[in-house]
Symmetry: C2
Amino acid sequence: MRRILLLVEYDGSGFAGLQRQRAGLRTVQGELEKALAAIGALPKAVAAGRTDAGVHALAMPFHFDLPGRIPTEKIPEALNRLLPEDLKALSAREVPPTFHARRDAESRTYLYRLLLRPHPSPLLRQRAWWLKGPLDLRAMEEALPLLLGRHNFLGFAKEEVRQGERELYEARLEALEGEVGLEVRLYFRGNSFLRGQVRGMVGTLVEIGRGKRPKESLKAILETGERRLAGPSAPPQGLYFVEATYEL
Amino acid sequence: MRRILLLVEYDGSGFAGLQRQRAGLRTVQGELEKALAAIGALPKAVAAGRTDAGVHALAMPFHFDLPGRIPTEKIPEALNRLLPEDLKALSAREVPPTFHARRDAESRTYLYRLLLRPHPSPLLRQRAWWLKGPLDLRAMEEALPLLLGRHNFLGFAKEEVRQGERELYEARLEALEGEVGLEVRLYFRGNSFLRGQVRGMVGTLVEIGRGKRPKESLKAILETGERRLAGPSAPPQGLYFVEATYEL
């Protein structure tokens, strides 16, 4: 029996999120576990994180156990023959039997893509959040350091959890001229994220960019943990789980 | 009555091509003409070019005539309220009543995107042609100048036409590290293109990149116009109509 760390990419548009749910809902975990069963693996996959419906992943780690003899480097191809077009395996490696994709992740990185232009983009409609108006990118950039460090991020999150303390290591903004217009990319790297936290932070940062609130307003959200103080949640299609890192 | 030059972007994945066809087939022209009728324009739109099912456009020009009073700069927004998500207007300008989007185009530019990596990409599956193996990009780049100039391009095209002579002004290759892997972008700018010509050229260039044929083999295709001498057609999802230019 080997424990395998598998990286997968997916287009979240056609999934009701990552996590297996009640029958009838198409999920990333559900589709992956079907393919795992078919190659003789134990049909239980544990992900590094959780993504909501419409959210994408460039490289989401999963672990699972494999009793069979298939060489580790052949696993992605074997799975890809079975997986749907919107979910594919990128790589596989053997890890110690105690490895855990969620508990052992030392950092997670998310990307949020904004598209700034006068009209919506057919080509990026499921890949970025289209915003019409101008944004004060400098104000947004100056707000990012306020989010860094260890804080209670509950004020940005979607769900009530007992413990909202997380650490944000990096928050970065990049502006670039994409194929269809000006793109703003926000990168967030932290030890762990609450459900909805990145979308809540992005929604609030966009309000700063629109001049609707000062950057200092972030402080009260972090101090009180009150969701009503933050901006609305940014839509799912702009969000990407980029990667998780492990000490391996 | 004003003649309007409209630029539209579309995701070709859900269309049976640009050109209006028999009832029941969803086309770019068909959807646009429905929206035009609804804003009081004459429901006939003439495009600068023709794209097949699955082929995208970053900015396809159309012309149409508008009797009503709606200000020209309001046209894109008015149309976008009616157009589907995968087809949106980008801009509108008034042009002389004799302007013709197809006949007056002085140049057209196409882009073809290749994705080179070991496994298929869910996020780019409808946006690029995934190729597994390595490609000799230098060999491909060195082959491009052979295509430049005025030639009979029938050997790359899909359809028999009487006259296959076209002029290619520019052929360029760019390699870049994209979000999900190495992308190779091929740009072609010419006065006009035959149906299937770009996909035929790309399929043949990929054979050169794979070492299956020498770059000199392009010469015989251009000299004889024989389709069987060229490589297979590259798939539609990697192709983008970028723009057409006019003397205006």
